[in-house]
Structures are given as structure tokens and as C-alpha cells.
Symmetry: C2
Subunit: 386 residues, 2 copies
Amino acid sequence: MVVATDNFPSSNGRSISPNTIIELEKGDPVVLEKYWRKRSEECSIVIRGWEMMSYIGDAKNKVCWYMLPEVERSIRRLHHVVGNAVTHHRYIVVGTGATQLFQASVFALSPSHPSKPINVLAAAPFYSEYQDEISILRSGLYQWGGDAASYQKNEPYIEVITSPNNPDGFIRGPVVKSEAKGKLIHDLAYYWPHYTPITHQADHDLMLFTFSKCTGHAGSRFGWALVKDIEVAKKMTRYVQLSSIGVSKETQTRVVKILEVVCDGYQNFGSMESELFFEYSKRLLRERWEKLWEVIDESKVFSVAKYSKAFCNFTNESSEPSPGFLWLKCEEGIEDCESYLVEKLKIRGRGGKRFGVDSKYARISMIGTDDDFNEFLKRVSNAKKE
Amino acid sequence: MVVATDNFPSSNGRSISPNTIIELEKGDPVVLEKYWRKRSEECSIVIRGWEMMSYIGDAKNKVCWYMLPEVERSIRRLHHVVGNAVTHHRYIVVGTGATQLFQASVFALSPSHPSKPINVLAAAPFYSEYQDEISILRSGLYQWGGDAASYQKNEPYIEVITSPNNPDGFIRGPVVKSEAKGKLIHDLAYYWPHYTPITHQADHDLMLFTFSKCTGHAGSRFGWALVKDIEVAKKMTRYVQLSSIGVSKETQTRVVKILEVVCDGYQNFGSMESELFFEYSKRLLRERWEKLWEVIDESKVFSVAKYSKAFCNFTNESSEPSPGFLWLKCEEGIEDCESYLVEKLKIRGRGGKRFGVDSKYARISMIGTDDDFNEFLKRVSNAKKE
């Protein structure tokens, strides 16, 4: 299949020169901007000069004292609407992105006075930043232990389960077979209806979510954790306190407004289904994935693993996932997918080695701008002819 | 002197019961709210639903890529107006409060592959959180080395100079006498005209500032660093990236607006001097300090070290500092100032041991609400009669 330029209209009419590098290395979720432009005024926040000057969000909250009470209510309401996670009997801890909370979680689950650092594990391919986040300060409390699937030690460990997985979009469970005592962190950043069917209410001890990948507001730097054990929640809060004395109140104000608009859509009569956030966003992603499969199915250069359908309790229909990333594999003869992409196609992706696997793989963002996505498809489509 | 209740009108008419504990342990800068209420509408920010969704603030900035370009301009303009620090040939790195940037600085100045952790020092009394921030993860790169004044080792070190100092408000310089190579971090959170005379333009390799203590917007979690060496600035940025993938864009938007209003006041004709931010804030703090000295000078229980006058290049007058904290010393017979305060007077302060000195000392916030400050004065005033 040869895809003509006309099939890929630029959303802003900008034509991308063939020599321009397309940046699809980060997972910047700007595809969702289109939805929020339609709801622009309704979602505006106004903050006056004297508002929210204090460090404190809720002096009555004995766990997460820097969180505004309405933030906690919004988060519980969202999970109630979507049905993707249990919030009952859970403490909520908020952070400057799930990135900060991941580190807070590892700190909170690590023994306080270890004889040696506890191993933090994730099954490969794993999120490329975990290793650096764990290793950057050479902590004596914890250390990066590598691929969870090959962990053989009979020592306590922390396993991170990213589900759906970043980079490959698959649903996952714990994989460590060790008889030693393990603690689990569930990173559920992508467990939302636009990315994957909601097959069950997640019910784990420590679950992480992020505003960035839920509504697409990555610039806000906001994440939350649902935590069963109050001592773990308190220790996480202490980490966030020492790391940044809490979380921006301007951000918290915006989170409340955006989540209110999302939830109101579902709970008020008269909303058009096609205009609801998750339905709209799912359609955007599905359209991209459908175009992508057309190109990939014809490609002799790249392949992508297929996903199974599953029934989504939220949308009440069976569908395939439409992950936030494309996990591309180069076919025989191309050993370094990242280099091939950037050198031959001027596409910047993130190579497999960063995710703990072979360099034949590379991750490409599926959630960037229309222009970049369409140009990406065009170049991948043409690549097969070489 | 017996101070009658009537001399201390509550700002909101709330009367504080003698059994209520007054919380003056944190440095929550809500005293400055009064100024921003007067400028409320002028300082409002509006953020629409689709704005600033990206992680990226300025793709062209090769150091601090998550910073909005207008934030950088605002910070340079502010220092230009106040004259408290050199920004020429300096890189700007922003963080989620100076707290995050302090840790980014220590990381950036530490050797990457040390045979043993480098010592981080500060002269006692030092800011109570440095030690925990340095020690929390038991880093192999750096460790808390305690009081800089008693450092004897002939090994590389990092010295933190807090000037004016938290908790005691004095101007400081480096104190380590070691012949080993030392790197310096200047924490200038309180080097603003409302707290202390601006006697010179600070010109150090790495200087930290915070929005919290400058304009009083602690809830925003925003700080900035002025950094001479590009490699240090890049390493700090990498720390912030791994710690929280940047800084809230909502916060950045607010910083731009608030600093614009501050600077416009000084640079536009027709502003009334008494309505300018630093003049107004200085007056608020001076009034508190004057009331305080009246009480302390009469007290047989507490004493406070006196400050010298200095000429302020910004206000063009000679004046005493009016620090953000009161560094209280209990007189003979009271060994634990923090316990005395909370048990006898129901005042929560932070004891000397947290600052690396004797428990005869305690730190009290001077920047809380009018109600709490006035009730504090009343109780301290009455305490002398016991």
C-alpha cells in the first residue's frame, strides 16, 4: 500500500519537510488537546492573587496534609464513575506526577534499616525511566534489580507491575517466582477506557495513577496513589514532603475542575455519548490504531504484536486495546530499530535497550499531534519499499 | 508590661481560646495574603481546559526544557528590579520549590562516581530540613556532615550557606576552614527587601530562591536557581526530570503573573510607594517586629539576639532586618524551649535540636496570621510573670 500525502491531512495545514525529524520519543499526550479545546470555557480555572498561599491543603487530613479536600473527592468520584479501581478503605496520597509517587512508593516499601538495599524489579520490557529513577542517588535503601522474570534470589524484593504495560500495552500481573517476601507496586497509568478495556476493578495494595495519561494534562505534573496501609501512605507523604513540600495548589485546583467536567458528563442526563471524555478519546486513539494497522500489516520492515479483544465493563462492548505507545519490532536485517528510525526515516523513537530488551525494538508515541502521527505513518508506509 | 487583649485585635474577629495551641512551627507565609487581597483581580490567572497540556515548556531551551520562556524573563526582571542577585551569564533552573532544587544542587555538585559519599555541611543553627533531605535515601553520593563550623576533615565537601539564615536571620558567608576543595550552595530564600537590607548584588556560583518566601505563595511550590556552570545546571535539570518530570505549568503561569504585578509596580509611573509589594510587606513585618521587641525587651523568660542596621540599596534607607522567623532563647532555668512553649503557653514552635543547637532555643514563625501572631505576643507577654 502506498499512502498518498492527501490521506494524511495536517491538522493545522503545516506540511512537514521530509528532512525534519519527527519527535515521538516522549509520551506527550497532546492528542487529547482536541477534546479539551471543545470544552475550553467550561474547564477554565480562575485563581486570584491571594488564594491558596499556604503550604497546607487540609489540616484535618492526618495522612496527606498538603492535599485539598476537593481533590480527594474528585479522585474517588472518578474511580467510581470508571470502575477501574477500588477506593473504599484506601488512603489517597498525591504527588508531583506519578514519577514522584513511584519513588515515594519504593521508599515507603523499603525496609528503613536494611543490611543491604532491597531489589526493585520489573518484567522486561519495562518503563525506561524506572531504572534511572531508582539508581540516580545510589540509595542504600533500594537498588535496581533488573528484569523481574529472571529474578532468582531468595531475598525480599519490590516488584513494579505496569498494566497496561509501557512500552508494549499488554495487561500484566506479578511474575517473580522467588519464595522470598515481595511487595508490589501497581503502576496503572494506562488503565483507563481510552487505552484498554476495563475488565475489572483493580484491587491492589498500592496503585499509582497519573493525570498526564488519564486526561492528557501532562504539564500539570499530578499523580495519585491509592494505598491500603496507612503506614505506607504516611511514609509516602513524608517522602513527598521532603522532596517538594507537597504538590502545587494551582495544579490541584485544575485537577478538581477537569475531573468534575469528566464525571459530570457521565452523571448528568443529556450528555451526548460521543461527546463524553473517554468515548471521544477512545475514538481518537482507535482511529490512529486502525490507520496504523493498515500500514503495519503491509510492512516488510516493521511488525507489532497483536492484541486480543476483551469486554469493557465501562463501555459495555468488546474491543481491542489502543495503547498510548506503539512497540515496534524491526524485521530481519535491521539490528537497531531506533537508529534505523532516526537515520532512514527521521523519526525519533526510544530504543529497546532502554526498556531492558533487544535493540530490534523501539517505542513510538501514539499520542502526539495529528501532524506528527500522520507524517510518521507516511514515512513508515514508504519505508517498506526500500 | 501587661498587654491587654484589646491591643491585639484579631484580623477576623476570631478570639482564640487560651487552651488552643497556636501553630507557629512551620513558616507558612500567610501574612502576605493581605497584600495580594488588595491586588486580587489584577493578579488573577485564567487557564483554559486545553492549555499547557505538554510536558515541554520550551523545546529551544537546551538546559531547562520544562520551563516556560516567560518564567525565565520574569525571574531575570525581578532580580533586575530588586538588585539582590546577578543574573547575567547565569542559567536558570526551576524546581518544585527550593526544596527540590536544594536536592538537585547537592546531586549536581556531588562527584558522580565517588569512593565514599561527599559531606554536605551547614553552620549551626542550620535549616532544620537539610539533614533529613540529605539523609532520607541514604545516598551513596552524598551524606549529611553536620555543623560546617566544626568540620575538620581534609576531604571535599559541599557547604550550604543560608543567608539571611533560617532560623536566626543573620547574614552569613562560608565558614569551613578545611584545605580540601569545597563547593558552595547559597540558599538566598530570605534575601529580599522585606526581610533584610539589600546591601549588595549576590554573585555566587549557585544561588537558590523560592516563590514561597519572596511573594508568599508557598502553596504554589516553586523555586529557582541561578547557576554559573552550564554542566551543573544541566545536571540539576536532569535531577528535576527524574524526580518529577518538571514543574507544574499552572504554577509557572501564576509565577509569571505575580512577578509581573510586582515588577510593574516599580517600573511604571504613578505607583504609590506604600502600595508597592516590598514596601508594603516590609511594613507588615516591621510592625510585627516592633511589637515583638516591646514584649521581648520586658521578658524575663525569653531573649532574642539584636540585629544591626544596614543600608538597603533597594529602599535607599538604613534599617534593621525583619526576619521571617523569631529565634527565641529561653533564660536560665528552662532547658527545653520547645516543651516550655507548648506546655506552658500552648505555642507550637520548633526546638533548637532540629537546627543542630541547644534545646534552649526554638524557632517561631513571624509570618503567620495576625490572629496567631497577636495571641502569641499576648501569651509571651504574660509568661514573664510566672
